[in-house]
């Protein structure tokens, strides 16, 4: 088995399989559709595995990801993104001929573009209304706006109103959906209510209006999910192997993984990762090629050349920076996947 050089990104396959099964079982038990977000792994083989285990389909975040997954044989894909511009709408109509695709919008102008693409393809396109329930990302701001946009969608040729979408699931969810349903009366049924998030995944069943859940990070785990209590350390399947390349002082050490591997995305946490072998160490900063570590609180401290395992704060951007993901089984290399949908920003 080849020894891999550091830094490299890996997943423990047995732990990942257990994570995949755990969420699928939970959502099955509660009658919720599982529609995992592939932006976490960006690997067709893992998307197919999720569907094989019971997912109703997958979620992508960019059209380029949809193209990769459609090419790889995935057939039911949700793209909760406001698609804007002629180039993307042309690509969308090509895709519509091959796969079952649903999208979202939060505006009439985007809905009109989607209608053109659907007509160009000669296919009906299901559109959900994206709802901002307090996260201040995209999304209509109120049940009234949601109902108004649902009616716009339903009237546009080629489009079918499919329901409501939000991210992440928040306490407001049931009230928002209920109020929108009341405004629409019997006129337009809200068939699908799609929620999302890995940090909140084990509370999905508490939102009675929800019909499907989109989680991405659940199959890997990371420091943010450990901190949120959603994936404990012993279930965390994901990490970066990195070498200590400098020990400038007795307290400080420097890793050969910096922001080009671990990403600068802190997800609001203090520090830039958790070191399995040195749980009391703090990754205090990243430069592009170096991780800066304070080992002050550690009873034992590493030598130059020692390889350590960092669990990054946020697994998704780490995978997006990597060309390959190494699948380990019992610490040995089992599989090396190309991160096929990496960097698909359009």
């Amino acid at each position: 088995m080849p020894t891999l050089d550091t830094p490299y990104v890996f997943v423990d396959l047995d732990l990942m399989e257990a994570n995949l099964a755990r969420l699928q079982t939970y959502l099955d038990q509660h009658g919720l559709a599982n529609r995992p977000h592939i932006k976490t792994h960006k690997i067709p083989a893992l998307a197919r595995r999720q569907v094989a285990l019971g997912a109703v389909g997958i979620t992508c975040q960019k059209l380029g990801e949809v193209e990769v997954m459609a090419e790889a044989g995935l057939t039911d894909i949700f793209l909760p993104y406001n698609l804007v511009g002629a180039a993307k709408l042309d690509r969308l109509s090509q895709l519509l001929k091959a796969v079952s695709l649903s999208l979202t919008t939060d505006s009439a102008v985007v809905a009109r573009g989607l209608s053109s693409a659907a007509q160009q393809a000669g296919r009906e396109l299901t559109i959900l209304v994206e709802c901002d329930m307090g996260a201040r990302r995209c999304g209509v701001q109120s049940p009234q706006e949601a109902a108004d946009l649902a009616r716009v969608i339903a009237r546009l040729p080629g489009l079918r109103f499919g329901g409501l979408m939000t991210y992440p699931n928040r306490p407001e969810l049931d009230d928002f959906v209920g109020a929108t349903r009341a405004l629409l009366g019997g006129e337009l049924p809200i068939e699908r209510v799609s929620g999302g998030g890995s940090a909140c995944m084990w509370e999905a069943h508490t939102h009675r209006a929800l019909t499907e859940h989109r989680a991405g990070m659940y199959l890997f785990g990371d420091r943010s999910l450990m901190t949120a209590g959603a994936v404990p350390l012993e279930h965390c399947a994901f990490g970066v192997r990195t070498t200590v390349v400098s020990r400038p002082t007795r307290e400080r050490g420097v890793l050969d993984a910096g922001s080009k591997v671990l990403s600068s995305d802190t997800l609001g946490l203090e520090g830039f990762g958790y070191i399995r072998e040195y749980p009391d160490a703090r990754i205090t900063g990243l430069s592009e090629e170096h991780g800066h570590v304070d080992f002050t609180a550690c009873p034992r401290r590493p030598e130059i050349g020692e390889i350590v395992t960092v669990i990054p704060n946020h697994c998704c951007p780490v995978v997006n920076l990597a060309d390959e993901l190494v699948g380990l089984r019992h610490q040995a290399v089992d599989t090396v996947w190309a991160v096929t949908a990496r960097g698909r920003v359009r």
Copy 2:
């Protein structure tokens, strides 16, 4: 000329040429060698352009970048990195047969590895001592440690002590170098003193001990260099073209470029970029595929579908996230470069 779809990363070629010439002229005037850092652009054609304009050679930050640049014909390469581990030392000795390479170290253990690689290649390898003058990254902590390590390097077979290296240039530079020189006496000359940084580049001549300067970002410019006063807005050659895809409220807008394009690296600045067309707007947050903008302070606000130009905080990680860099001349596409050394983390 094809219209490019958003988001895409571009450089204005005329502005870039002016930036390249401006620093080269400044360093020439002050008798300082220009050894630009290619981690900013990661493109062999731009490295060759820098050398054609007068650079003595280039700087890379990972061995994988050296391999790309050596393959492309660059012959004088500085790798200021502590190279650790058998796999990398093997690759180093292969490279030594083809190109003139100098490296740094801050420890005897790393120096011994470099000595083995040099002997394996049958070539003499020039090693500089990396000095921490207060930035708390890698580097020896004092002139005494620098002098001790210089002597270790000079005694190791295959190695030649080449001088001192630091980043970024700090006020302590001349004193640190002077004290090290005094400790070494006539025993070992300090031939090269290599400093670096784009934010501090116009003060390079004030460090009398410096013999060469490594700047990376100077050819592009970014919001950090605008803020530091090193590259004013009118010289900034770099940007990301991105579409407004949502206007959830009168004040807020959402761009189709998020952390997968602009990177989460704030370089300590508030906000995530500067919008040329809306200078009073604030990019308040990034999710992976969305940039979240507050247009409250803007007298005019964009419609959905409008394309805007973001100058990111830090150009280097933005290029590392991009597969291509578009070269524009008079707003039209002149060149599309593959970012050949993107993602070379080993």
